[in-house]
């Protein structure tokens, strides 16, 4: 049977009544012992009998056509084959569900996959891939730089409310600033990998993918086969951060080669391939216009952005997504302009939109607060609207003020001074704040929940755990609802033969897949209540014992066999009738070296309001991740393209600088207690991307507070600071 819920109205707060104690508190991950002993199996680690090894071949020109000369390598030791059929240009955009562009011999950017070299061993395949002769015919008109001469595609339907120009000219205080951010790479530690094998007409693909329900359709479409002939297995994924949302080139290449060869083929992307063939976050230019009256009330918000992508890619970074609902002000204008360049495709990287949009907005808010002579926290609190300022919708919940104020108290904000007023040795110290916001989303999702008479349970869904804690929280939800210890629940994930879930992305995984597990368990509770002779509302389940209607029975006595229920959640009208978002506040204290301009982050605090927190430990780890990504965004991360060819010059982890252990100070996380009744039947909201939204802006605002230098061009490397330090 299926327990179905379309989220059209507020649901009872069941998880506040159940009382097993399996949720809210910190809990270690059930898969932890496998991960710390190296026995969790990631995609590349499947070794099948008679498996051949494939290595991708990348285009060495920016634009044109290519012809592969297979004869140049076919006598090399271990040669098995060169395959170009159905090669995809780049990874699919998240939730696309269809094939990525398949350019068939055309080259659209330098580093594009053009073939896979297959051999008996990895060493042979690598040698063959590097030795393969390719005849290129370059084409004119390659575009590799976004600058003032670039042509842009403009957003068809920009928002334009009131009169921004008039409000700016009449305002007591205003700022008009241009912020720029460089492209970012997800840099998940596990490179993308695929092992493909065919059973007749059906391909079994072991991959590293975030959204199997979409990915199976993307793979089927790329291969020209029916989706019923695709099975994807992805039980362990070594990080995603958006880079594994869509089917990627190595999956299609491995499947094509395996089909032709009639044997399993493994293709693992080299780290350089990951940088080039997988979508990255676009660079952005953001024009921020803000104005306020003499009392510090916003009268105007303008957030216009310029970005880049390959021709034919549908995704655009929603830079202004949070600006639409975060602050008031009656005159508002937005616009989006996309340059089509011959460079690696842009796509989702953790918190698409807010990750960079909140840098522009929250720095501009800091500038305007300074201009108006108002404390940055007070300035933000004054401008939190009663309802969403453009749609007029009520917020499902909005604890931004509480996050800012409780965070300020915990962080010691009252000790903040002005620029260059705190000097420690040769270091200026300063504090900064920024608001966090991330739209909350519910997606359709299904799971099977089985309760056994011995008090054990099984959760099955094609949901993924990319490190976010899915194994933990799905087990906890089932345990809480069924009144058993979480250690009694087995969670099976990452197999498209299981019920289709939302996938991991957009911070919707816990809410969506979690709600389906909640519903499946709720269906089981209804059956148990019937057998006990009470109403589902009266039923109490705790430690394997059912109580209700003056009756008390162990599960084993109520059940003559396993009970399985499918849970099925769908978004409903609460998604449309309310502005749903997580809110928060980031605080940072930094030290800026007065000689070199080097910045060291001293400490950070994130005060987060994300509804009910299911597992305080895994949620905190997600926020730590966001804060540390904020450090990278603010200080070190930037993809550099060769202006002549569009080549990613720093296409590895030595030259693309993600934060290392010594870059990270002590971090505090504070969860503001909250229930969001409109979000889903568990009253939770996403946390994984909220932790990044605004984190980098708190750091650059702290840099300004420390030394008086406002950095407009991210990242804030020393060369952008020390020339301005007098």
């Amino acid at each position: 049977m299926t327990e179905h819920l379309k989220m059209d109205k507020v649901q009872p707060r069941m998880l506040d009544e159940t009382g097993q104690g399996a949720i809210h508190k910190p809990m270690t991950r059930p898969e932890g012992p496998l991960k710390v002993s190296g026995t969790a199996t990631y995609a590349a680690e499947w070794s099948l009998p008679n498996m051949a090894e494939g290595v991708m071949v990348r285009a060495a020109i920016t634009k044109g056509t290519c012809e592969i000369d297979e004869s140049s390598v076919k006598d090399m030791p271990g040669f098995v084959g060169i395959y170009t059929d159905r090669m995809v240009r780049n990874s699919a955009q998240g939730t696309m569900g269809t094939n990525p562009v398949q350019p068939e011999g055309e080259v659209h950017y330098l580093g594009q996959p053009i073939a896979v070299a297959v051999a008996e061993t990895l060493e042979q395949a690598r040698d063959i891939a590097q030795s393969l002769a390719v005849k290129y015919t370059p084409a004119d008109g390659a575009k590799t730089v976004m600058d003032d001469s670039t042509e842009f595609e403009d957003d068809d339907d920009p928002v334009d409310m009131g009169d921004l120009d008039k409000a700016m000219s009449e305002a007591a205080f205003s700022i008009d600033s241009l912020y720029t951010t460089k492209p970012h790479n997800s840099s998940a530690m596990e490179p993308h990998a695929a092992v493909a094998d065919w059973e007749g007409d059906r391909v079994i693909l072991r991959g590293s993918l975030q959204m199997l329900g979409f990915n199976k359709n993307e793979l089927a479409d790329s291969l020209g086969i029916d989706v019923s002939n695709v099975r994807i297995l992805s039980p362990y994924i070594g990080g995603g951060f958006g880079s594994k949302l869509g089917i990627s080139p190595e999956c299609v290449a491995a499947a094509v080669a395996s089909k032709k060869l009639g044997r399993p083929v493994r293709v693992v992307l080299h780290r350089n391939n990951v940088f080039e063939m997988i979508t990255l976050r676009t660079e952005t230019r953001q024009r921020m216009r803000l104005a306020c009256d003499a009392d510090g009330k916003l009268t105007a918000i303008g957030h216009e952005n310029w970005q880049t992508n390959l021709p034919g890619e549908s995704m655009a970074e929603p830079v202004d997504v949070a600006t639409h609902f975060l602050y008031g002000g009656e005159n508002r204008r937005y616009g989006q302009h996309i340059a089509r360049l011959n460079r690696s495709a842009s796509g989702a990287v953790r918190a698409p939109g807010e990750a960079v949009g909140q840098l522009g907005l929250e720095n501009a808010m800091d500038e305007l607060a300074e201009a108006a002579g108002i404390d940055p926290i007070e300035f933000r609190v004054r401008n939190i609207p009663e309802k969403s300022p453009e749609s007029g919708l009520p917020y499902s919940s909005n604890a931004l003020a509480q996050c800012l104020q409780e965070g300020a108290e915990m962080f010691g904000w009252s000790g903040r001074k002005g620029p260059k007023e705190r000097l420690e040795g040769e270091w200026y110290l300063g504090m900064g704040v920024a608001s966090a916001a991330r739209s909350n989303i519910l997606m359709e999702s299904r799971a099977n929940v089985t309760l056994n008479p011995d008090g054990t349970a099984l959760v099955q869904t094609d949901m993924t755990d990319i490190g976010t804690g899915t194994y933990s929280i799905l087990g906890q939800i089932a345990a809480e609802m069924l009144g058993i210890d979480p250690s009694k629940v087995t969670v099976e994930l990452g197999d498209t033969d299981l019920p289709e879930a939302s996938g991991s992305g957009g911070s919707w995984g816990a809410a969506s897949a979690g709600s389906s597990v909640f519903l499946g368990a709720k269906g089981i509770r209804t059956k148990l209540a019937e057998r006990l002779g009470c109403s589902p509302e009266e039923l109490r389940l705790q430690d394997g014992v059912a109580t209700g209607a003056n009756n008390r029975r162990p599960l084993a006595e109520l059940m003559d066999g396993p009970i399985t229920e499918e849970g099925h959640i769908e978004p409903g009208s609460t998604s449309n009738d309310f502005e749903q978002a997580g809110f928060g506040a980031h605080f940072a204290e930094v030290a800026v070296n007065k000689v070199t301009g080097e910045v060291r982050v001293r400490r950070m605090l994130a005060a987060m309001a994300a509804g009910r927190i299911l597992n305080a430990q895994t949620a905190r780890s997600q926020v730590w991740g966001g804060q540390i990504w904020g450090i990278g965004t603010a200080l070190t991360e930037e993809i550099q393209h060769d202006r002549r060819t569009g080549h990613i010059v720093n296409n590895d982890l030595a030259e693309y600088h993600i934060p290392v252990n010594l870059d990270v100070p002590d971090l505090d996380v504070h969860f503001v207690d909250e229930r969001d009744d409109q979000s889903n039947p568990m009253q939770i909201k996403g946390i994984g991307e909220l932790g990044l939204s605004g984190a980098g802006a708190a750091i650059t605002n702290a840099i300004y507070n420390a030394c008086g230098v406002r950095v407009y061009d991210y990242p804030a490397t020393p060369d952008k600071i020390f020339p301005h330090l007098d």
């Binding site: 998940a188 693992v268 010594l662």
Partner: protein, 176 residues
Amino acid sequence: MKVTLNVNGEGRELDIDPRTTLLDALRNHLDLTGSKKGCDHGQCGACTVLVNDRRINACLALAVMHEDDEITTIEGLGQPGALSPLQRAFVQHDGYQCGYCTPGQIVSAKGMMSEFDLGWPSNVSDDLTAIPDFSRTEIRERMSGNLCRCSAYPGICAAIEDAAPEEGLKNTKAAE
């Protein structure tokens, strides 16, 4: 070419392409996939193993260079049901998320403790000849060769501090 690798106390005979890295020998030929490949360039530390008790990046070594060496991988430190103190502490402190860099972090932490025991200074040590201080800053510096994009660094440091006494860390100020 033929080579015998002593891995986790066991002699393993291989006949492999001389271009095979130690990491690929472990992962592709000995079915020891706990050592991870994150970059294949010595940049991320996910492949860290101990060779004669010293931590190295297995992706930067050829397998045939290590005949007769004692190689310890994550599998040799402990397995589910019999985890080492460091492994248990990583679980307890959530010193990971996706788990991909984790074996490298743990093996690296084990190797780092030997370096403390030998009195090695680091880039953040105030005195190059003094007994090193087992401080958060020293741990952070010495663990900075192991990248974690999930950014579990706070949990990683807490786990290392927690497990150090049980792992037998000796020659530090903290252990005194």
